[in-house]
């Protein structure tokens, strides 16, 4: 099979996923029998609302959620499971280790942005240890030396400097996010791209484009491989709200600054 036909297939697939995920909106313009009020409605509700998150773009977000479900189903997960099928578990773990180690760069820059001295040192220590002793991150000796991973990202940095999470946002492919975290993601990706381009690891090979694509592609597959989340797998009809709440709450809690004990 040549590259063009491969590309065409990918394009057709994306188009199909898009039409599947957006198709639902136009349907059902038929005349339905008249509605009758339900036995129980929100009017009788006398309690505080709960598990709620600011979500003014819910319609859009739910459509994106649906898009991600189809994207996973027809493209992402088949690729990930082929990868899992052909790669021995041991190799998968080493690959995850390498990418997680590269992620320390993001943890480090953002620890620094948040003026977290100890955390920055820990993360730097981890990166140096695992890059050398851990063979480019394939193994994680740092954790056994007591240097534990400190996950940081630019979303948390923005929070540190006072930015509110803003409305909930479901990003295509990346999934649950917020306005703040989506901007953070853009900045982190920009920084990684900048560093990568400056180092240009495959610059002398003459085939750098192919290698760069391979590195990025592999990273994307590995990231999905590491996430066990599957859209709509809970079988719970309010899954969207639970995911939204848990995402939001966990980010707020983890990004929040420690309060002084009193």
């Amino acid at each position: 099979m040549n590259i063009t036909s491969h590309y065409r297939r990918g394009f057709a697939l994306t188009a199909m996923i898009l039409s599947l995920s957006l198709g639902g909106c136009a349907a059902s313009m038929v005349n339905n029998p008249e509605e009758v009020a339900a036995m129980h409605s929100i009017n009788e509700f006398k309690d505080q609302r709960f598990a709620e998150v600011e979500d003014p773009w819910e319609g859009f977000n739910r459509s994106m959620y649906r898009f991600n479900f189809y994207f996973d189903k027809y493209l992402f997960l088949p690729v990930v499971s082929s990868y899992e099928f052909i790669t021995p578990t041991f190799v998968q773990q080493r690959i995850s280790g390498v990418y997680n180690n590269l992620g320390e760069v993001r943890n480090l820059t953002n620890s620094l942005f948040q003026l977290k001295g100890m955390d920055s040192l820990t993360t730097l220590g981890r990166f140096v240890t695992n890059s050398t002793l851990g063979l480019a991150g394939m193994f994680d000796p740092a954790t056994s030396f007591g240097l534990e991973r400190r996950n940081e990202d630019f979303g948390k940095t923005l929070n540190y400097w006072g930015a509110d999470s803003g409305p909930y946002l479901v990003l295509p492919i990346f999934g649950p996010s917020s306005v703040r975290d989506a901007s953070g993601l853009a900045v982190d990706s920009g920084i990684s791209y900048g560093i990568y381009t400056a180092i240009n690891p495959f610059g002398n090979t003459g085939n750098s484009f192919v290698y760069d694509t391979l590195v990025t592609g592999m990273g994307t597959v590995d990231a999905r491989h590491q996430k066990s989340f599957r859209y709509y797998e809970s079988g719970y009809p309010f899954e969207y709200y639970m995911v939204r709440f848990i995402y939001h709450e966990q980010r707020e809690i983890e990004a929040g600054m420690p309060l002084p004990a009193n």
């Binding site: 339900a38 709620e52 859009f60 459509s63 709509y232 309010f238 809690i253």
Partner: protein
């Protein structure tokens, strides 16, 4: 229970536990029925297995002609999981408790234990799960032991049709926990007539005796919320701010096992708050069942009759309304009227009585294929019901001193007992 697990439970499964064990020979460490129910079993005390397991995801099309509403566009059939051996082996069907999916952590642990002991396993979701109501329930009205068990039997037949060309099975076994345990009893009875599987052994783990009575026990937990269940939103919000303040005072790094462990050791939640949280997570699960059943039957219970919901419509208000309905609301306003219409003259008491092991006690007493495991502090049972189980199952019963409701199910001793039970030849 599913979603509290995400915040309260999943990460705590790695807990290091030491020095908590009471002074008896049973090694499950967590005292207190509510605490053990929420905490489950620490990872270090679960059986350890190699990671590899041959599994296949089954998507069953039980009713090929059924049209599914747009709001459930993602539902493509009933999801089950098969773990299979290469050689001939016995096949165990496992049924989860209320709201369980085929991938619920407890079912997965049971599947691993049995798979690594040489069994084929198929895990089935609970008939109270939306996926089941949408794809596999004949009536689409969940909660009736007889109907739901017949549905499960049909699902098992469909699953068996789908896999029988690929695996070699020597005999069939059946197990379930909580609501799934009661269903297993009814399925076994149905199988005595239908004879498709001829189950050799059937294991019931933490079964309720009467569904109505056990639901009452759980509803009572909600009374421990200030203002009662009608104020559960206030309670929920208060518990979450407590949770998040605790994190921020405590200098934690992430919501991980250390954090959850200290919630337990520092007693962040009082006993009645823990009880309230269990009751609330049960309500959140029940809400999913009520909503999906209502949409599937177009009954106008929480969703206006004839309203067509699209996949991007907000359904949050239905979530709030449904979580504020009690089991009694469901029973009196929805469940009973449905069955009354089917069987004119049916009294409420007769319907309640049919949702109990007592309605098939003659069979349960006489059949040697049954085994039953439960805990002396399982709060879904009254003292009298615990005694009843002791009488009913006699030698075939195993009682553990603690574990609450399912808290110790994944504990290695309990898992070993389960595996042994299925291994043993017919009881003499």
């Amino acid at each position: 229970m599913i979603f509290f697990k995400l915040l309260f439970m999943t990460c705590l499964l790695l807990l290091p536990v030491s020095g908590l064990a009471a002074d008896d020979s049973y090694g499950y460490p967590i005292p207190g029925p509510y605490e053990s129910t929420i905490m489950g079993t620490p990872a270090s005390l679960k059986p350890q297995f190699p990671e590899h397991m041959r599994t296949r995801r089954l998507v069953l099309n039980v009713f090929p002609d059924r049209k599914k509403p747009q709001v459930f566009f993602y539902d493509e059939g009933l999801l089950c999981t098969l773990a299979f051996q290469k050689q001939k082996a016995p096949l165990v069907f496992l049924i989860g408790g209320a709201g369980a999916t085929n991938q619920s952590p407890r079912l997965v642990t049971m599947m691993k234990s049995l798979y690594h002991a040489g069994f084929h396993v198929i895990t089935l979701p609970s008939p109270t799960l939306a996926n089941f109501i949408i794809s596999a329930s004949q009536s689409r009205v969940p909660g009736d032991l007889t109907d739901d068990s017949a549905d499960l039997y049909r699902v098992m037949e469909t699953a068996w049709q789908q896999v029988k060309g690929d695996i070699e099975v020597s005999e069939f076994l059946l197990g379930g926990y909580s609501l799934g345990a009661s269903q297993a009893a009814f399925i076994a009875k149905l199988d005595e007539e239908r004879r498709v599987f001829n189950f050799r052994r059937v294991l019931m783990i933490n079964p309720p005796v009467s569904l109505y009575s056990s639901a009452t026990r759980i509803e009572e937990l909600l009374k421990q919320i200030p203002g009662g269940a009608k104020k559960q939103g206030i309670f929920f919000n208060r518990m979450f701010s407590k949770f998040s303040r605790f994190y921020r005072y405590g200098n934690f790094v992430a919501i991980d096992e250390d954090f959850i462990y200290s919630i337990y050791t520092e007693k962040l939640f009082t006993s009645s708050e823990t009880a309230g949280l269990i009751g609330l997570s049960y309500r959140i699960g029940l809400a999913g069942m009520i909503f999906s059943s209502d949409v599937m039957t177009n009954s106008g219970y929480v969703v206006p009759k004839n309203r067509v919901l699209s996949s991007s419509d907000s359904i949050f208000d239905y979530f709030l309304v449904s979580t504020h309905l009690s089991f009694y609301d469901y029973f009196n306003e929805y469940f009973y009227p449905y069955f009354q219409k089917q069987r004119p003259g049916l009294t409420k008491q007769a319907l309640i009585d049919s949702q109990s092991l007592r309605s098939i006690e003659g069979y349960l007493k006489s059949s040697t294929k049954f085994g039953m495991m439960t805990n002396e502090d399982d709060f879904i049972l009254t003292k009298a019901e615990l005694e009843y189980l002791r009488q009913l199952f006699g030698e075939r019963a195993k009682f553990y001193p603690r574990g609450g409701h399912l808290g110790n199910l994944e504990f290695k001793d309990n898992q070993a007992y389960m595996v042994d039970f299925f291994r043993m030849g017919s009881t003499p």
